[in-house]
Subunit: 192 residues, 2 copies
């Protein structure tokens, strides 16, 4: 693995310190993969073998309800991790789909390898605990914003928090993340 491993290394180094040799060893537990726009990383009903660390591109994770309506749970960009964690951690069938909004490169980590590395390196376990803590906080804030603010406020908050993502995403996709229809989102920003 080449240059792309730098992105992963950087992320590790923000939280823990690793010997170069250890990093190489750790990296050996990841596999590199490329996906084209519209390809799936995770499909509803299937097993989920990997957690994906994005090197480049953009993906969405979404749930399809009984009426066929899509609800977006998460996006991921360069440097973010994504999978269906319930399925991944607990060997269940995926309930979400994850597909590419753009051509995407990832490093894949199986749950077995993750557990192996966590056992072998206390530091890696520490790293993942920290990551999960962060994710927790983000998810909590999302719940808060769904409970306590209206469509417009959520839209404006999103623009502030993720200005570049907002530009990159088709509006109907963003609408679905915000929990409104594309029509409503459109009406939010044309006027005022």
């Amino acid at each position: 693995m080449f240059d792309m491993s730098e992105i992963l290394k950087e992320q590790f180094q923000k939280i823990i310190t690793i010997e170069p040799a250890d990093f190489e060893y750790i990296l050996g537990h990841f596999t590199y993969k490329k996906f084209k726009k519209h390809q799936f990383l995770v499909q509803e009903g299937q097993q989920v073998t990997f957690d994906y660390f994005l090197i480049s591109g953009c993906v969405k994770s979404y749930y399809t309800d009984e009426n066929g309506k899509m609800h977006i749970l998460l996006f991921a960009l360069r440097d973010w991790w994504i999978t269906d964690y319930e399925a991944y951690y607990y060997q269940k069938r995926a309930i979400v789909n994850i597909d590419c909004l753009e051509d995407t490169e990832v490093l894949c980590l199986s749950n077995d390898n993750r557990e192996k590395l966590c056992q072998e390196f206390h530091q890696v376990e520490h790293f993942f605990r920290r990551k999960t803590n962060r994710r927790n906080v983000a998810l909590q804030n999302r719940i808060l914003s769904l409970l306590s603010s209206n469509a417009k406020q959520r839209y404006e908050k999103f623009l502030l928090e993720y200005p570049s993502l907002a530009q990159r995403l088709p509006k109907h996709i963003l609408a679905s993340y915000l929990g409104v229809t594309r029509e409503t989102l459109s009406r939010l920003y044309v006027q005022k």
Copy 2:
């Protein structure tokens, strides 16, 4: 500390194995506290010193919006952990309140002690990683249900998932957790 430590021990032992002596040592990093109904564990705007492991009782964590409306994020019962994690992990001011719905006993763990124990015992770090993973999945599912289902479906799901909690909670509190007004919740279950 006496008998109540059993509840904590049990939880540890579901995930990791610890020597009795180590457990005693770990327990030494917790402090025991009692709260009466209506007392606060965490107050908005204050620092958050502890993560709380409930021994008995029941608490709610809620956010108060600009109109003074309360939005419940989480409950905790015997055997659950609760705090304002963003404030706790990252030394910020609390944005939520956590108060007691019943008289409540807790074991308190400071973030410093948590980090200390995680460093000293790889197993403890493992324990908390696992816990946080679980919490993640639960939060994700909550988001999913807020995005994709209506008030009635959310209410019915709650009844199925937490039948005993549903009985224990005042309806207006439950309503706030579900993201509806008490009037709406009342109308959901009187008819059909």
